[in-house]
Symmetry: C2
Subunit: 577 residues, 2 copies
């Protein structure tokens, strides 16, 4: 802040000059003291000058509405919404969200530093303040090919650059707990810069958790039980209670929130698709859940505001107090948390569910070319099984975890797998798309339920190679080729025809469409997947496949390099003994 | 932390290698979660690896004692203890204090940057971690001469230098609230550097307080009422609840602490003399007071540890958790808070009230020459009153606040004031000692009670010129000359002889003696002041005089430039109308 700005701020606060804007007659939620203060909020240069009796050039009448600090999502991957940063702003701000802590590790897996640059630039086109954490574990493992890679030197360079807030979720918790060189190099680069380092430590406990926390990692959003939550809090970590489109941990974890530890808890979505946002909102949804579970509105709001600001060193926000950003949500009540008006840096940015500024977009053309697939053909899909006893990737209903099971399958004369309508087992393939390696890996998926055609995606965490599943080599080949042809996305094919498709031209994982468009498309895709391909109703046809190539989630997955046993953390044979 | 250290820390935490030291069987106070965890504390390279079951090379048996994080005094002026940093460490650590946030504004008023350098160097000789805030308002006003001066450029240079933690108490609250240029320049330099800025805002309220908080000032230790405390907390400021030798605000303020705002409260002493430390301890005393007033031991400990660490960005301490400094106090109970053992960076530093390391001292010779007084003689003490009606500085019992009153006094033929044993009014003088200005200012002090001789000090907040009071020009002249002769300190004289003296050769405000020596000396001085000079028992003869030259405390004071009316913030005539 310049001296002149400081003077203007002080003069406004002291009431010597009128505020640029004033929100009159609000019930201001005091996240520090814990009460409600009736008064006007004076704003100048995007900053709160004070709460009291003020006059202003522009007057907003709050008419007794509650004024809370703008909500902060403490951990989200924008890419999981299939839309770009400009659009996520349009979707989230009307829900009261004014800041998100975003980890763009999907696009960085595809496009490396160029992807990070694009996300930073695109964020400038939305009023939502997007604070990025630099993805720390790209690729997720050494057992796959991704487009980008992040090492200790990259971390050093980016953190010095200053446009990122900290180091994103340190998924390589094994490497940390075991004290492995590469993990330590990356961590040391983060510690050196003195930034916040996010965690990801599912089921880590005891001394391993001590080791993980000792390494300087300050958050975790992977807790599913109250015990895990308490273990992390007592070790000085903040717990980010998650409620996204896929994972719903918040309600369980609320049982563990006490008056004493509430200051170490925050709210996050991790992944949140347009459908969920349009139907349930964003952090307003989390807040409703909190209050319905007996958390006081004050503590709930603190978890969505001040606590996140403290955890991430964003001392310029998180409260309605002098000198902080005028990120303010006017709420009808502290139960529904529906936002009547949302201000960002003092500007009225959303009203009654509508985002007010025009939606401009950054040029994403550099993200468009993201398919480099060598010599792909149905030939590469053929198996030469020497026995009919194989390992299958068996879906565990309702999640992204799988079981390694054994099945007896039919083979043709050449030893290739043949789909048997009587057994719910199909071919699943991962086609490398970043480096022209020509890698194609094939495995057998059980429980997906598909009965005809094929599904192909270029959204496959975290490396985002092409993943496809279908009833024949030809159906799979057609779907993969058609997907490449449309520049990536989601595609359903049957009998050599495209049934439904959602192109995702931005790095093969996002589109420049609206959230409503994505929602409508996905609805059509889900309908076709169930009705035309016969995928069973209790399987989410897209999300399920998305996670089948992620080799850090148990128990068995498929990367472009082969079938991967997550338990032994090494490759596995397709044929069973 | 280097990669090798990180690896050692992780390996220790994970239990793969034995800890360097382990504190066995402690009841660890979990300041995050709010409970007590039974276990061993593993330590490596001065850092906590974890709490659990651990083996170590050096074993300390806690035998079920409580283990709390080392205490942090959030605001103290070391100089007010009359001892140097090495000695303050020896006095405070046995009380459980492991970090102090010190504002060396007394010595910087005397010696400028050279004084700051000396304090930084001296701090290296104690195990106590002394974190310095750079004094922000030196001199306190433009109406006096000090030895050092701090401007915006000095602030910029020091904050860049990196050895100071932030900007010390911004006493010039008038300047801030009024938006005055010099104050804003200094503030802007602090804001630019992104450091914590301490406050000092007695009785500031309403919009003025909004202005003070908007300026980025994050603490206040001048609250005396619960209302003032709440006002500051709701504006995002931390409240430092003070209990020092002079000011006892803590007990009042505890009435205002709630479960909801406790996280914004801390404990500080501001000024704490050896007598108080030796008799009552330090923050252990504060903690006893907290618990006796109904604060939970957990919240009390948080106020003395985690909260201060958070406020000042000392994320490396304030809790017993993996990765933090092994600053640990073993306590017999959570009521007396008596420290059995104190560890700093994992080293056993105090045991059963004794500081264990040898006390070494930095060379303070550069601080010794601090008296530059031109042409001082009794002539300069003579008044030429044209009337017998004068303004007096009238002491208000029990504090450092004064009243501006009018009195009728006796004069000699030349118009000089003549002491009348029937009226409790004597001459008080301030003699400039830093710049050879030759300034001597004379005023009349009422209520001090001195009946013979004179008292002279070189401790006179904040400029620390010489201040003296006595019954005749000759007694005052002798005392001042003798004080200069001994290189400063405190001196009582009568009939041309020194009665008692405590030399303070380090900048005229500190000595290189022990706290016990200071205590014994002050006891003798107080006794002589009452018994030999007749100063009334309810007047603290030294402290009272110390504050008579501080022109930021109401209502009337005396600087080397003249009688100063704090209310109108300008000089006043000695003669009344």
């Amino acid at each position: 802040m310049s001296k002149d700005q400081l003077k203007k701020l002080i003069d406004t606060a002291a009431g010597r000059i009128p505020a640029q804007a004033v929100i009159k007659n609000a019930r201001v939620v005091d996240v520090f003291g814990g009460g409600i203060i009736r008064g006007d909020i004076a704003i100048v240069d995007g900053v709160i000058a004070g709460v009291g009796e003020y006059q202003g050039e522009t007057v907003y009448e709050a008419e007794g509405l509650y004024a809370a600090p703008g909500f902060i999502d403490s951990h989200i991957h924008i890419e999981s919404s299939y839309v770009t940063p400009e659009e996520i702003g349009r979707l989230l701000v009307p829900c009261g969200t004014t800041t998100i802590i975003a980890d763009p590790h999907e696009i960085v897996n595809v496009k490396g530093g160029q992807g990070m640059e694009y996300m930073l630039e695109a964020a400038k086109e939305t009023a939502l303040d997007i604070q990025y954490m630099l993805p720390s574990c790209v690729p997720a493992t050494a057992f796959e090919n991704s487009g980008g890679a992040v090492g200790a030197e990259d971390i050093r360079t980016w953190l010095k650059d200053g446009r990122v807030l900290g180091l994103g979720e340190f998924m390589n918790y094994r490497g940390v707990v075991r004290g492995e060189g590469f993990a330590l190099d990356c961590l040391a680069a983060g510690l050196e810069a003195g930034v916040s380092i996010d965690g990801h430590s599912p089921r880590v406990e005891g001394k391993d958790l001590n080791a993980y926390a000792a390494a300087g990692i300050i958050t975790d959003h992977e807790c599913t039980t109250v015990e895990e939550m308490r273990d992390r809090i007592s070790r000085g970590m903040y717990v980010l209670m998650r409620h996204g489109s896929a994972c719903h941990d918040l309600e369980n974890l609320l049982e563990g929130v006490t008056e004493s530890n509430a200051g170490r808890c925050m709210l996050c979505s991790d992944d949140r698709q347009p459908k969920t946002i349009l139907e349930h909102g964003h952090l307003d949804h989390h807040l409703r859940l909190c209050v319905s579970k007996g958390i006081t509105p004050l503590n709930a709001i603190r978890m969505a505001t001040l606590n996140a600001a403290q955890c991430y060193g964003l001392s310029d926000r998180g409260a309605i107090s002098p000198g902080r950003r005028a990120d303010i949500v006017l709420l009808h009540d502290l139960e529904s948390f529906k936002a009547a008006k949302v201000f960002i840096c003092g500007e009225l940015t959303a009203e009654h569910g509508k985002y007010l500024p025009p939606v401009k977009r950054r040029d994403a053309s550099a993200m468009r070319s993201s398919f480099f697939v060598k010599d792909f053909s149905a030939d590469k899909l053929r198996l030469k099984l020497t026995s009919d006893k194989v390992h299958t990737i068996e879906l565990v209903p309702g999640g992204v975890v799988t079981k390694k099971t054994v099945a007896v399958v039919k083979r043709d004369a050449a030893g290739d797998f043949v789909y048997d309508p009587g057994a719910d087992i199909v071919k699943m393939v991962v086609v490398e798309r970043h480096k022209n390696t020509g890698n194609v890996a094939v495995a057998l998926l059980r429980g997906y339920g598909i009965k005809s055609g094929a599904v192909a995606l270029s959204v496959a965490h975290d490396s985002h190679n092409i993943i496809a599943a279908g009833v024949s080599n030809e159906e799979i080949e057609f779907a993969v080729q058609a997907l490449i042809g449309q520049g990536g996305g989601i595609l359903l094919a049957k009998d050599g025809k495209v049934l439904e498709a959602m192109p995702l031209p931005v790095a093969g994982i996002m589109c420049e469409q609206s959230g409503e468009w994505v929602d409508a498309k996905l609805t059509e895709i889900h309908r076709a997947a169930h009705e035309s391909l016969g995928i069973s109703g209790d399987v989410e046809p897209v999300m399920t496949l998305c996670f089948m190539a992620l080799p850090v989630i148990p128990e068995i997955k498929l990367t472009d390099m082969g079938l991967f046993d997550v338990t032994s953390f090494n490759f596995s044979c397709l044929e069973a003994e």
